[in-house]
Symmetry: C2
Subunit: 173 residues, 2 copies
């Protein structure tokens, strides 16, 4: 999944979404672009580290993380829903992981057409090792904040999340 | 660019990356997954609104936003770098926007092989209308936070951003 272009993007210097701001932009827009920048910077680090340490892509790691939480397996539709991200091809990712013996497709009892996807024992072991490293990387990346700053940031993001979720989706311009 | 699968993901209910947490996970990991969830929730709203109001995809909007800041145009390599995101095909996106008359490719004087991409006058007008709506949507999405909460969140994310940027990239597990 890693292309030359993707590798270039990972190692690119610090241009970021905040660079597109004008002086007269509303503070809410500044806040959004900073939030997006933080997410992209952390994701870029994690992506590079998964690649270098485990030859793993982030979409495949995210897929395995969802399966790890569902020992009974997930239907393809539910897996797509949980992954939230757009642009990834869940079927293609699953095919690759099946090919490597990390994931398996099984029939769903009582539903002739549906299949459930779950981790194999090898997939579970591989994911455990990656998840431990992933948590360590995240702890290091958040280390610029004190415990109290992390707590406050967590609380404020919780308020933001609830505010966004409470907003009706049909409220278009 | 919008596929059926992408549309499904946009309208999916509230499962999010935070759902994969275990009780014994470090607070830094909780914080990261909440940050990621907020970004994905807001991005999903913006994606749906750009689609419904302007028949525009988010990657194309982001590309036009970068060009709007560079009236003299950007080389393809610089445009890829500024977009930061992986997985998008900058050449493909540019081809579409050229086809719609919103973006133009020009020779770079003194560099026979390079081309600079810039907005056409029509592209500039179209972007101005979208950017105004985009800012309005973001203001509405952030409305669950008070001005003082937004200020604090902005400050904390600034500290996080500096902390991540200061971390050496070669620090792998």
């Amino acid at each position: 999944m890693t292309t030359v272009r993707e590798a270039d993007a990972i190692d690119a210097p610090s241009a970021d979404p905040e660079s597109r701001l004008h002086d007269d932009h509303h503070d809410a827009l500044r806040l959004w672009l900073r939030l997006l920048t933080c997410t992209l910077l952390i994701e870029r680090r994690i992506r590079a580290q998964l690649r270098d340490s485990f030859a793993m892509t982030l979409p495949r790691f995210d897929l395995m993380a969802q399966l790890e939480r569902a020992p009974a397996g997930l239907k393809m539709s539910e897996l797509s829903r949980r992954l939230m991200v757009t642009g990834g091809n869940v079927t293609g990712l699953t095919d690759q992981l099946v090919g490597e013996g990390l994931v398996v497709r099984k029939r769903v009892p009582g539903d002739r057409r549906a299949q459930a996807i779950s981790l194999t024992p090898a997939g579970r072991r591989a994911f455990a090792a990656m998840a431990e490293a992933h948590e360590r990387w995240i702890i290091a990346l958040m280390d610029g904040l004190s415990q109290s700053e992390r707590d406050r940031l967590y609380g404020l993001l919780g308020r933001l999340k609830r505010g966004v979720a409470a907003m009706p989706t049909q409220e278009h311009a």
